[in-house]
């Protein structure tokens, strides 16, 4: 029982991180307008994506992916995929941070919309590693739950 509560708390905490990150990249609540241009600028600052059109594509698509992934953690049918996607995106962001740090770029993370201006790379990398650790725990228990389920269960 305690284990289930802990797992639920972990799911809620991780989902909240991604939900907040996604929503703040979609809409700028302070100025009540779309936050896509700022996120596109943040992606551009990493100097990883060479084409402006692709940057814009990521800026429009990634936040919605984050929101859906967060919601997927609360559905049994999509939870495992959500955890895998969450992990993949976190590794992607981690790679971008490490790359920017290695090249000495002084940029805003862009992880939580335009208000996040911190460039404390070690702290952000540590944060992402903690998220990955939490996801690994969720993945393990979800795998175990599904491996014990009837083989005829769908999705």
């Amino acid at each position: 029982m305690a284990g289930k509560v802990i797992l639920l708390a972990l799911r809620v905490a991780l989902a909240w991180i991604f939900l907040k990150a996604g929503v703040l990249k979609i809409w700028d609540f302070a100025h009540w307008r779309s936050a896509t241009p700022e996120f596109a600028l943040a992606i551009q600052n990493y100097q990883i994506v060479p084409w402006p059109d692709l940057t814009l594509l990521f800026a429009v698509y990634l936040p919605w992916l984050e929101v859906l992934t967060a919601l997927a953690l609360f559905t049994q049918r999509l939870r495992l995929g959500g955890i895998a996607l969450f992990s993949g995106l976190t590794i992607l962001f981690l790679g971008a941070l490490v790359s920017a740090w290695a090249r000495g770029l002084d940029i805003a993370c862009g992880c939580f919309g335009k208000d996040e201006v911190s460039t404390d790379f070690p702290a952000m990398i540590e944060r992402d590693l903690c998220i990955l650790a939490g996801l690994a725990v969720l993945f393990f228990f979800e795998w175990r739950r599904l491996s014990r389920a009837p083989a005829s269960s769908k999705t």
């Binding site: 779309s34 896509t36 600028l41 919605w64 495992l80 389920a149 009837p150 083989a151």
Partner: protein
Amino acid sequence: MNPARKTLSLPLCALPLSAAATHRHVSLYRILIARMIARVFRQLAILLGLALIPAVVSAALQLQWNREEPLAAGEVRVGTAREWGDKVIWVDARSRAKFEKRHIPGAVLLNEDEWDALVGPFLDAWDPDKEVVVYCDGGGCEASTAVADRMREELKIGNVHVLKGGWNAWLGK
């Protein structure tokens, strides 16, 4: 275990197994892993596809908004500013690093971080008969608005404009 309920659960077993039993367990594990991997990819595909729907709608709406977005007070579009030609003093409100990397030809650097040091050179370049157009990165960047406000209040310069869309608009993005 109910034989009618086919499962792939494999409890940990401390008892030594025969070779045949071990082989059967290994095969079952392989089937389990293959099914789980297929399940993960199936769910991934669903999530990636579902996210496309709001993303496409969002992109379409934003394109619509950008076409219709009116100018705020004190703003000027890049096309209008270009038409002013020589009668414009461009002011770059971004960081020195970005300015030195690339800026609008002839622009003067004047940002809030180095205001005291840079205001002198700006005033040397300023001509009251020319329009002052301040720009920063674009999108939601507010540095140009802040610098423009300071020019109006502290330097009493009236003909100051903020470039709508900023540097990105100049680059044509």
